[in-house]
Subunit: 271 residues, 6 copies
């Protein structure tokens, strides 16, 4: 396999991609959001997370990455200027179109890297489940999300992790230090229990006890979390970001390694 000059699809010519497909069939698709992340974090936090994970895992394994999708499913942040939200239905269609285009070229193993913890998943799962059942039964589809991939490293944080929390702020701080406003980091934590009963989720990366999903909208969020941050980010640091990032990249690299050798049945059943 000829070494490509970039892991990013957009920097290659179609002939480069044709060359790659002779010996490999894995590609990563980073999906983020443009969504407020409190007074300290830039609107691109989730996109930067997805891009960093995809790029570094790709560089280590030699797989390709598509251009990122900078927009995700963020309606409950729309009362904070700058948030751009796709409706879930739109996200489903974008994901389907990207995956179908890739599958047509012969990419057989597609890994979506969702940087937007949890909230993009309804749309991305809808797209993948439907495509894999009805249209692309032979294409392996998977979905990676820090919320589930980083449980084993959650212990490094000092605070409860919710929106704009310690780890996601640390992650961007590590990768793009100039984009974090350190003076705006906060020690405040929104207490969710009076708002959402004792059955609220305790921590995005945490283990969690009995819970019930409650839906809130952007006006409500603006009311109960007026700065946009739900979580204590005062313990964030580039070093924690580095550990968090490297832990996830290591997991991703392991997964890609497994996937390279994997022969099914997922994505390999004769229909």
């Amino acid at each position: 396999m000829a070494k490509l000059k970039s892991v990013w699809l957009q920097e290659l010519t179609w002939e480069d991609v044709a060359e790659y497909l002779k010996s490999d069939d894995i590609i990563l698709f980073p999906v983020g959001s443009t969504e407020q992340h409190g007074p300290a974090g830039p609107l691109g936090v989730d996109s930067y997370a997805a891009i960093a994970l995809a790029e570094d895992a790709a560089k280590e394994t030699g797989v390709l990455v598509t251009p990122p999708l900078w927009f995700g499913d963020s309606p409950h942040h729309l009362d904070f200027p700058g948030t751009i939200s796709l409706r879930t239905e739109t996200l489903v269609e974008v994901a389907k179109d990207v995956i179908c285009s890739l599958a047509r070229h012969g990419f057989k193993k597609i890994i979506i890297i969702n940087g937007h913890k949890g909230t993009n998943n309804a749309g991305l799962i809808t797209a993948c489940r439907s495509l894999h059942q009805y249209e692309l039964p032979d294409v392996f589809l998977s979905l990676v999300d820090p919320m589930y991939l980083a449980r084993g490293i959650a212990h490094i944080k000092d605070a409860v992790e919710h929106h704009a929390g310690e780890l996601e702020i640390s992650h961007v701080w590590y990768k793009h230090p100039h984009l974090i406003k350190q003076e705006k980091l906060t020690g405040e934590q929104v207490n969710l229990e009076p708002l959402m009963s004792e059955f609220t989720h305790k921590d995005l990366l945490g283990k969690g006890g009995d819970s019930i999903e409650i839906f809130w909208n952007s006006r409500e969020q603006k009311a109960f979390a007026p700065t946009g941050s739900f979580s204590d980010s005062s313990h964030a640091s580039p070093e924690k970001g580095r550990q968090y990032h490297e832990y996830m990249v290591k997991n991703l690299v392991k997964f890609i390694g497994w996937l390279r050798r994997y022969e099914g049945p997922i994505g390999r059943i004769k229909q």
Copy 2:
């Protein structure tokens, strides 16, 4: 509040419902599936679960229940005869229509009881998030699922819980003993790790370590779980079903009690 003769909406007249709405505004909407549950469980397992939880929580608290939706999002079971699957997009629209109808009458707090562990959630979350942001900002919407509501009772089971597992079989056994084929219960457990890497989900109700979502279709499932059961159900029993059921009903009753007293901000922000 006059005592209604039934908790089920379909058994009441519109005048009964008008009467109820004078003093209460909570309603439960049970959503199940018609989907294979192995050789021992009937196709209606998830619907029976949702119906039983809704009915018993309603009887204890005096709230109303809509008729159940017997169909859910089950594409990966379609290679097993009798499975009926709605596309996720269809489930979204049904949920939206039901919720909008209820909201129009003045139901202000709507609780969906999803008996179809996890798999309906993409559609139900899509419907609720979108409605609450754009169309029904003043209506409280929540989603209950045994997968999250019963974590605290998971310790009573002896086996790993996946599709057609010990607890869901026990649940229906307790409520509808004649619908479980006891002679078809099985001690076999599908080993998911070779199929889906070390990052597979370990247990539907379990705590879970680092995980990555992999999508499989009905042909693949038929190949790796040819009986339709993923899990050891040999330790199932009506007694475990009773404990599991009562634990969840107790949680639901507690949640409904909290919701009766709750005054916002969720569902109560002036727009």
Copy 3:
């Protein structure tokens, strides 16, 4: 053919269904509504009608029945609390998904039993016509509705039959006596002619002269039929319900018998 323990799909295992499909390929799909039926009739009238017809015809002929769809197309009743209405587009998609799931398993002759006289038909016809032309040319699809199936027994009623009328009230009274509020039966008849010109439909089951379709909405209906009943139900009785029910079941049994022997061309043309 082994005798199944139930005609209801949800009570069977997938292996039971596989067994059934070895020797038969007919299934009934009952579709109702949750819609006000005046002060005397429960919201489930149309669903109870569809369920009763399907269940009794199935028991007599040994065919299977899917779980019922409790929700139908009822926008013009939405000003009466408790009515739940699917948009026609949603009903189309649900019907398509259910039928496609069944067809995939090998059900080749599907009979929809619509208990919601007339009003569900736009959606159900749209689904069936489209599926049979474009996606399922080899699957026989048909639609049964009391409004057309019971013309021959219409003479037993004393009053004009419109919404919440003598026969549909009698039908539920016969099957579920405790669900009819006898003290709320009414001798009043809404006079439709001043509302909708001389070209109004004279009787849901009647022969009818020249007519023009006029569309009314729920506010208008609440204005011209404030109790929710259009029709004189004072002559309703369980006995009339029995005759009406048995007449339709007899017709259905005859039709199923014909369909068992029928070999096309409908549903049997080589494409």
Copy 4:
């Protein structure tokens, strides 16, 4: 009211229409089809019917007519060259767009003239019911169809009326004599009972006994009615066409007269 030089909207300027709207608010919308009508009838039969009824009723009453929609819902005729079929969903959207445009200008009473007996109704009813409930509660919408409007004149025909039957052929013959191929009129009648059971519809305009709807597609129709005609058209004549046409125009004129004076509640409820 100034006399307009044409009843057809497309022949007027916007100022003419503005003038009309000062004193009137009724408009007719003719919807036809482009669909085979056997060897003797042109593909435009249903459109010619709708156009003729609308134009003549408009001339007699002084109301306006929109340009016709030449395409309808005709999937089951697609195996006959020249048939152009809109999917039902498309027809719904066209009808909604036309009606919403008209309502915006102040047309408050819209009458759809469907020349395509029955088959367009699923789409047209879906559009009207939805619009009138949700978007245009103050606009009176109605749907006219020869199948229902001409029952009182059905006795003039000698044969059973089904597709390409005696009356619809006569109708076009009367209006456009050069478009009927008289030498291709046929005495043959497709016997529907063996094809669709004893519960088949007996006559499009007839009274009908117990019936069940069966869906057939274009391949099946080509097989059981290879000439495209279902009905004996040998008794068709321009004279019957004239009687049939004038009877319907008389009914329409009566209806428009009633509608001019009608003050609600349909289309007049304060929301």
Copy 5:
């Protein structure tokens, strides 16, 4: 090839069309609009243009024409009474359905004649591009529009051509003299530059310099062009209409001639 008695599909029987398809496979589909064209032009201007071009080119070349679509994409004219606008999405679906119906019969070369300069193109291009890529790769699809087809004759006009301009008024005047209100022709020209910057389009048929697309709605149009006309039509004449029309028909005839002999690759690649 037997000479057909009409170029219009709706006037022929299906057997006539079957006969035509034995030796030819070209058909024209005229798409217009019903949209205000100032105080002098009728609402049907664009439809008349499409019809006239299609009919005359068809007569000269012996190809068929479908019935016209009288409705187009005209939202920005909706503040002028009589305008009927399809949403772009609706236009896409109508065009797809018509084209798919034609393709099914064996028409392999379909030419859309868009009389509604430019504004229908978003929808028509969307339909054609999608169909030709995904569903009808072997069917040749093309789109003709006076705005592009008549550049070579633009020199005959004296004024800048915008909506309701000299050439389109002349075109209808030539074909339907009684539909133009000569006394309402106007010498006024809306000056678009202050409204839309120096980057406005200078002339619908003109060459144009650097330009930027600005979107205006019907309220804005009513404000800046209150008569509905943008352009000086005082130099319009039937004679200019004749030259304009004949020039385009000549081009169309030339194109149809080329298409008759053309063997691909467009529409002829083995997939």
Copy 6:
């Protein structure tokens, strides 16, 4: 107005954006594609073009830019590996969601920069026209495309400009020299006239004579332009790229300046 540290929305916090909106209301939205551009150009050519134009115009004028959309409407390139195409319907929805999010925050003047010459326009026009008519009548929407914005500089090129032509290659060469494979530049020009008749478009930036739109798909394109390039790019150079880029930026800066001072009626009509 405080100087922002970046023109890119994703690099700012929501508080930065709130600050910006106090004194300005213009934002640019760059839309590109990921689409083959021959053997010399990277797949991201159109995205790099949109990004470069937006960023440099923003820096000069102090307005904001949203993150780019890297995917566009490119079905006819799908036979070249690496191309990712959104269906037009998907592009419409993405554009609507982005614009609606921006409008909600108070951005009143939105300029889309389409780097994907022409081909994205059907979708982008559909989105903008519909939004501005029906949902955002007070928001000024405009669409910039090099194909129309750079006509005045077209004279600097030596060859006819079509896909992967001299100017677009030069543009990326100037901005990202390492992404152009100079050794793969080509002197070959696809002759479009035999493929698409004499009515083919002569040059993407050219004036053009009489033309007719013909639709080709990816298989056909692969057949007639097997390298993916349509055009002679041998005269491309970073210097031409610079001139081309600066010409367009200058135009954009002029337009933004005009827009800052512009007070309507577009985007300023009281509804």
